[in-house]
Amino acid sequence: MADLSKNDEAVAAAVEAPVGRGEPILQVRNLKKHFPLTQGIVFKKQVGAVKAVDGVSFDLYQGETLGIVGESGCGKSTVAKLLMNLESATAGEVFYKGQDITKLSGRALKAVRRNIQMVFQDPYTSLNPRMTVGDIIGEPFDIHPEVAPKGDRRRKVQELLDVVGLNPEYINRYPHQFSGGQRQRIGIARGLALNPEIIICDEPVSALDVSVQAQVINLMGKLQDEFNLSYLFIAHDLSIGRHISDRVGVMYLGKMAEIGTDEQIYEHPTHPYTQALLSAVPVPDPEARAHRERIILTGDVPSPANPPSGCSFRTRCWKAQEKCSQETPLLAIPQRFDGLDTPAAHLSACHFAEEKQVVPVH
């Protein structure tokens, strides 16, 4: 036992060590989450699995925003839960400062969790209606008392309210007294309470009105500079994904289809799914509708319980050939672009990757 706690301390010490700007702070390697499908009531037997996340790898660098975009059911929210250790991974590793957090427990895990916080999608259901704002934002201090000594908490909570642009006098109010945008600010304040290094944002603005969305997005940008945060920003809205992200990963059916800088993904996409997704986004410019090429995909996303063989996108892809059903394409720089100095040379999981401009250029 003594040995174990010593190990915990070593992890805790490693977690405290600062990471330089631009170095990877979170490394995800071949992460998988399969939810079992069972049959029978007494004698349960597994008849299959929903492959929600099926081998995802990426790095999150210190101080950057990595956007993860994709349609519903592609596994982006499950990735968030795995990174928070709210779900345990079926396979794969998540390295936070070199420590594999999927294998941690006890004190070491607690130390890691302090540094990775989450902001949820729905500001209406993610705040307890029976707790005051002060209790909601201050709750993390009960779990990690070392961050704020007891007598100091009220002042700390008021500071946090001020940071997210709410009146510090609102500390005794209840969530129902606030609008959607204000509630999301409360959720952000709660995420900031423990001075984390990484914030995982699961669609933080998709439930808000357009005019309020911009306020919250600007606030998040400001906080990132002020507290030197790294964001993992999950979005289904590609425009918001582009606005806030330094790098973007596109997910489809539990796998990463394409990942690169925002310019590489939005202006030089090479994966057909990314191209279709981008071309389907309505652009708020009626002039563009005349000379815009739209790729309309047929059908729906296949079930992750029974994904197609080979490339999972082949059932909806217009380029699909024999090879696509046999060989699973790897996430790599496509051969034809390898070694070339072009923005198209970024990771893309397609056998027939080629560049195609789909977003109108100004």
Partner: protein
Amino acid sequence: MTIIDNTATVPSPRDGADHTGPLLEVRDLHVEFHTRDGVAKAVNGVNYSVNAGETLAVLGESGSGKSVTAQAIMGILDMPPGKIPQGEILFRGQDMLKMAEEERRKIRGRKIAMIFQDALSSLNPVLSVGYQLGEMFRVHQGLSKKDATVKAVELMDKVKIPAAKARVSDYPHQFSGGMRQRIMIAMALALEPDLIIADEPTTALDVTVQAQVMDLLAELQQEYNMGLILITHDLGVVADVADKIAVMYAGRIVEQAPVHELYKRPAHPYTKGLLESIPRLDQKGQELYAIKGLPPNLLRVPTGCAFNPRCPKADDICRTEIPALVPVTEQDGADLPGRTSACHFWKETIHG
């Protein structure tokens, strides 16, 4: 997989054959809700019109009264607590608010149909989709169960649901979100209405499916020469499909314009702010323009112009006088057909 060249599919407004004047005209409509905390004025004098074959987009945030107006047109407003103290809703020149309930029922579904936002909660989970689609024919046209089912299959084919015949006896939960929305569209189309009101038809859908559904809607609209009122908060969707736009704020129309005009030169600070505050796919900016403050509480709408506490141009007159919806003109006074703005400073906003 089809690649659609959009030049060919832009819907052009066409006039109806058998009547003159607009298909539907809303005049000075007021709707209020009597609640324990007071009277919430959800709609305060809305005017708009739609012609056959035309798409009017009603744009606004939550609480702007865009859905309540639609519900008043359909006659599905809960009354009480809702109340229509004033206004007219003219369908082919007849005021529907003065009609007997029996008469309105004949129009509802047959002449004006509605597509709701959330297809899962709008469909009855314990009845098969075929039964629900067939209900339109059984109730309105007195068809037998068997004939109604045949019609239902035809409709499902029409909205491009694959294997319609096999799926007609499936239940709503067995369909995906996009397919459910297609069923909603099929139900609205069943009796080939003259006007369809679509209340945020694609908000709950993914972008690739959203594009499919909007295309389908535009195609069917052209085929039947229907009028379409599209209620949405998404400026992107509006730009793709609308002919003209009415922007609503706190129960009033603050600006009306043909679609190209509105995006090029907004004549109301609210519209301008909205256009500047959305992140763009084709641009990467540093900071977004944000309209400060919050949409007003309808129990306590600010005096004067409802937008004045959030408006960068607000002056004394804005706090005391409600601006009327006035025609917008060019700098030299030339007419701009179809353009109106409810702002004391529209001249500065559009030309400044």
